[in-house]
């Protein structure tokens, strides 16, 4: 397979192959990063970090899982690092510090960011699970493989999130 060949060559130190690999996967990386933070500039930051990290950790890819799965994991780790470094600057005002993008869905974005922040605090791995399953459309098994937990854990997390959202909904209708 061509992609595997590219990876092998890049692992061997062929920078042309690595460059092609980047071309192939930058979109995937950026899109996933964007879904993580919902902000273009931040997503660019994360994507860039991920690309840099790809250079240093590509050697550790062992062809056991699909490359994209492995890549997701890498982006998640970079996004988490990035978030921690942001927190250091600005504590946890992430939501606040995100300048609005000039699209009509700004309100949705803010709401979603809030939801994602809640998920993150709901438990370890919740946000990642939501992104992989809902945003990327992966199966529970695939998401489990990426996050290193069992399929049933993913199912349980999705269930917990639904319940959380349900409760949230109920409260919202109550207070109206």
């Amino acid at each position: 397979m061509e992609e595997q060949e590219l990876i092998r060559r890049a692992q061997a130190g062929d920078s042309t192959a690595f460059s092609e690999l980047l071309d192939l996967y930058y979109d995937t990386i950026f899109r996933f990063a964007w879904k993580w933070c919902r902000h273009r500039v931040n997503a660019e930051d994360i994507a860039q970090l991920a690309c840099i990290k790809l250079a240093s950790s590509l050697a550790q890819y062992r062809f056991q899982a699909a490359f994209t799965s492995w890549l997701y994991r890498l982006v998640i780790s970079c996004a988490q690092d990035w978030q921690r470094s942001q927190r250091r600057h600005d504590h946890d005002e992430l939501v606040e510090s995100v300048p609005m993008e000039d699209d009509s869905q700004a309100e949705d974005q803010i709401y979603l960011l809030q939801l994602l922040a809640e998920l993150q605090e709901l438990g370890e791995g919740m946000k990642e699970t939501a992104l992989l399953v809902h945003a990327e459309g992966l199966s529970h098994a695939e998401a489990g493989a990426i996050l290193g937990v069992s399929e049933s854990t993913i199912s349980w997390r999705i269930h917990t999130m639904r319940r959380h959202m349900g409760k949230r909904e109920a409260r919202a209708t109550q207070s109206v």
């Binding site: 980047l22 998640i76 504590h91 959380h164």
Partner: protein, 786 residues
Amino acid sequence: MKPNSLENLLKQEAPQPDPAARVAARRAALAEFARIHPQTANDTASKPRSKLQALLGLLRLSSQTRGSDTMPWYSRRGLVGGAASIFVAVIGSAVVWETLRQDPQVTELNRPAAAPPPSETRPVPEPAALDGAKAESTAAPDQRGRDAGRRAEAQTTTANEREDKSAGAKAQRAELRSPAPPDIAVPVPPPVEEPSVSVQTVTPAPTAATAPAQAGALQGQDANRQDDSLDSVVVTGQRRSARSSKDVKREAMPAVEAIQSEELEEVTVAKRGARAAPHKGMPQGRQAGGSMGGVRANILHSPEPGALPPPAEGRDKFEHFDLNSVKRPAIEGEQVSTFSADVDTASYSFVRKQLNQGVLPQKDSVRAEEMINYFDYAWPAAESRERPFQPTVVVSDSPWGKGRKLIHIGIKGYELPARERPDANLVMLIDVSGSMQDIDKLPLVKQSMKLLLGSLKPTDTVAIVVYAGAAGLVLPPTPVGEKEKIVAALDSLTPGGSTAGAEGIALAYQLAEQTFRKEGVNRILLCTDGDFNVGIDSTNELRGFVERKREKGIFLSVLGFGQGNYRDELAQALAQNGNGVAAYIDTINEAQKVLVQQAGSSLFTIARDVKLQVEFNPATVAEYRLVGYETRALKREDFNNDAVDAGDVGAGHTVTAIYEITPVGVDARMIEESRYTTKPPPPAGTASEYGFLRIRYKLPNQRKSQLIEQPIRMEPPRASEVIQRDVEFSTAVAGFAQLLRGGQYTGSLSYDDVIRQALAARGDDPYGHRSDFVQLVRKAQTARGM
């Protein structure tokens, strides 16, 4: 399915990536790639730098040069633009400077401004720009502000490699978007030595300049704010930074660990320094980091201000902290470990609550020392009020690593006999805001307070103040003898309105002052679910207020209830500044424990500002690590400084600290022997000691501290059966806490091991707390396996 359901919102497609960002990322990654594969790299990025480039590198700021080593693409890229801009900067700014000198208004602008600069400024020369050495690149006005801010923080740090990388690359990105027009732009580099950002010049580039410009203005403010925090670095200089690369790994999800590499270690270097940034106004060992942010975040979370704050889950705020790392006594500066006593137990209750719901707790909510100190241990109590501690030191084998040892240091505060108990003047300050209506909040508060009445003397007085939309007095100070009155007042409380915590606190202190008992206990019991979003809205101000009152002899304890928006860090900070206890009450049993069993310890302080210090003997101890107390770390010099606040210990309180050590000569070290340090000669007569324990404390009514000293012997006399058992049990709890934090230092320890240890050391367990613990570990096992 609702149109704005989580699923649907998440399905929204990401936008197309920006080509410039793509190019920048690619370049950065290739540079990194070239660095890793120097021999095979055929990319231009790995070409040796030309002399001119090297010169430019020299011209750049020192904090940047380090970054440039790892990002030659940056310097390469900056070559042409940089040279051009320096040229233009020098010529252009000289000319413009000349012109503008006659224009006082602009010169005014040039001063470090507190207000954010207008987003569109004319090209204003900066004095620094005349100094060609400081002209960096023309790019990225938005980066400037951020950069300056970062540098402000980086003052205390080592060069922040990771950020330099992204910073440089970002600059480059902006450059790619708006090719710097060298003939218009006058670069104004940020004044680096002074972090406060003065004026930002925006290149009047036609393309993408406006949005970054606004960001730049905002960031400018940001930098000013960070400048503030820089002042406080000087004032409070903290050291709670230690973080090993393993720490960082630990925090990432286990699965992600597999892909860690040196990259992470770079982050580590950066973090180690930058974490030092503390907060103002808290000279104590513990700082409630981020609580200000918490307030704001909270406001942001409630969609309709003024209306009922919607209860929510997962908004509980915890201060982030890093685990204590392994230290080596042989290293200068690591020989001594100093921390403040901590008798809080809130962390255990919170963890229990989470686990009972089948969820693993947030890592930052797990504080090992609070979990350990939740349980009562049989450390012998002191015999007199004057010398209120009798330290117990037990050395045992560590279950977390072969060859390592555990040193338990246990103290138990002097137990006041009932007749010696001073009179109590209590003010219950109860949050009755709308968010308190849950069954585990106000109803539990009422029950708990009624329990408390049972453990008071008839001559003690109780007053009740509530706070919600408006603060109000419910019951003036009433002797406990008139119990029915107090109970009736408690029963009349109903939740409603928003929270005005600060006003409530002011009123409560006023009442406490009215009935102040000079010889007695004057204490405010704040019962809340953690919201203080109206009133004195600055937490610092609130803390300052509590601290001033403490000087007058009125203390504050915080009893946390409920869940959803529990503000742990704020509760902790308030209780600490108020010389009180922060406890988290989730069940009536817990109320029983805190308010009845431990009524003495919660209410009657027997020693203030209790600090512990252990000096390790480098001849016998190769490495040591303190379990927990991360947020209680003190600087070595704070130990003897009576002005530095520390934890208070109540009657009968037990405080337990556990060190894990690797004795010299044992092959279980985490850090290898340093090649270049010479071994110090062993001091005479101390070869049989692991270290030396010092405890400082003040008696409640004294200002000068007293000292207790005791050597930690390698072979202490064998402890009694009961003490051995409690050592075992506390070890199990410590192991559990560390597992919840990720099990970084506990080797192959599993939840099963913890259960086995705890069961073996359960003892009589009259109140069932220890059996509950075992159940809790089982729940953690299940929650993890889910």
